[in-house]
Amino acid sequence: MIEVAVLGLGAFVPGYGGLAAWSAGESNADLVKASGHLIPARQRRRASGLSRALADAYAESLEQATLDATRVASVFGSALGESATMIGLLDQMWDENAALSPMKFATSVHNAASGTVSIATKNRGYTTSIGADYDTPAMSLIEGISWVAAHDENVIVCCGDEQPPPDLVPDGLGWGLLSAAIALGPRSAASAHGLGRLSLPSIETATSEPLRRDAALERNPCIGLLDLVHALSSRSSGTVALDRGQGRGYATRIWVEG
């Protein structure tokens, strides 16, 4: 069984901000929008809400892990990616009969966050952007963990989805924005960081009960990664489900010592 060390955790949930506030249930109505502070001001103005949310979670896990931002590998996961930007472009195209905004088009790609973060951190290393609907967290972890296994190097796995376009999703099936991130490294690094270890996801039964606080958030395809970082920050060992019943049933085992 492949195991890796957990080096850092992060999240952005509107109304909470970072992971500690989310895990403690300490809401703050002023923290509705992600700051995107990792991204230089000029690029930040052009970045979508999703890209900023992913960047915030990424930055929090990076800081806790004390990794070199110019070198660490990254896997960004999102089920729908930059769907709000896509709808904005379709509105321009069909509703306004206008020429598309080149900047909006360039940042409509699924890897907008991946590219923006690599530019912001001057990182010339490996980064990718993947999606698999409700299995996005599990597949992102498999991609990230296989990177660690193959290269014996650290990786940040960062997943999130913004609200889906309301016109395209049936009533009651939409969800709220969230992002979560986890920095992973070779198993040997586990004791130095003290955050625990986790296994390569596989299809198995979960033993830990997920946090139930907000039904709209729980429908987010990336809720599984938020559940995982919450379980790790709560220092509870067990098997954590990486979806809430709409994926293929992937889970990961976590071990937290002390």
């Binding site: 990616g81 409509s108 990718t128 698999a132 296989s146």
Partner: protein
Amino acid sequence: MSRPQPITGVSAINCLGATLDETREALRTGRSGLGICPIELPFEVLVGAIGSPLPELPRALAPWSTRTAQIAQAMILELEAPLQTMRARWRPERIAVLLGTSTAGADVTENAYREFLEQGALPHDYDLFRQHTYGAILHVMCELVGAKGPAWVASTACTSSAKPFATARRLIEADVIDAAVVGGIDTLCGMTLQGFRSLDALSKTRCRPFAADRDGLNIGEGGALLLIEREGDARALLEGVGESSDAYHISGPHPEGDGARLAMERALADAGLDAMAVDHVNAHGTGTRLNDAAESLAITSVLSHAPPVVSTKAYTGHLLGGAGATEAAIAMLAITEGWIPASLGALPLDESIEARVVAERMDGRFRHVLSNSFAFGGNNVSVLLGAAR
């Protein structure tokens, strides 16, 4: 450095034809597949549209039927013989589906949203999760392939279908899987065409990569699938993959091609090969002024022995999310067939391009070939393929 992995099957579909054989014949005879755009647009442009009829999905998958899914079905039908061997060799849980796409089912959503704006309601049969999302095409692919292992889509714009080569390599090396169906698909979309137009990146004629008067790219549709296994009857070998970021600009290449250079160097390091061993490069070669110039600098800085360089985008158009796999499949033909196609439209060559771009079909013994893909976000992938031993 990892072990090379056998490529045991390959299929392709694009504007040149519905199979890899048809693609090969067009490349051999120097025939471009670019033509009039079938999508209604407020401007004229040449594209690489698939003209051949696409197969219907099996009845059980009818709700997932889209152009993307039908293209996948066509490629899987072409792969049936090696797929059967793969399925007999490995358990379904050990077979992954690793795809790349930049559009997924965006063509369906684009038309559905237009109907919504015009008539106030989406088409009655529109379903985001069966027709647009990555999960939709993954479901179709896994069902058609009979795979139950990990399955995801890499969506990194124009490197999307080159990324899965690296992932498959890592997953096999880490003993997570034994085999993978790797590749990618993109379809023509109005938004993509209008988006590249907004960037002033579309050619007014057939694109002319590396030519002195090149003026941009043509968009195409289609893709390729390759079977990569832990062991098997190799048609060629996946020897290495290099991935890098420019860390420079969201839509423009690094002017010196630094990220591209890193990707090629990392592919060589992954394979444990000296640069001198590379016999041919299938360039990303889009036909835009900046991309071709940066790529040429990158190639010449890594490969000082000047191996022949070809861009095949004037044949197929730029398949975006399907380009990486398609061009890897074409690069593989150099190894298995012993010739490389002419870099169509390259003459007269841009004198500032120092890479050895070949404008005539060339026979030779090609043992190790690189296939380059570069993308928005400064995302770069270089795939190194080798002859079966």
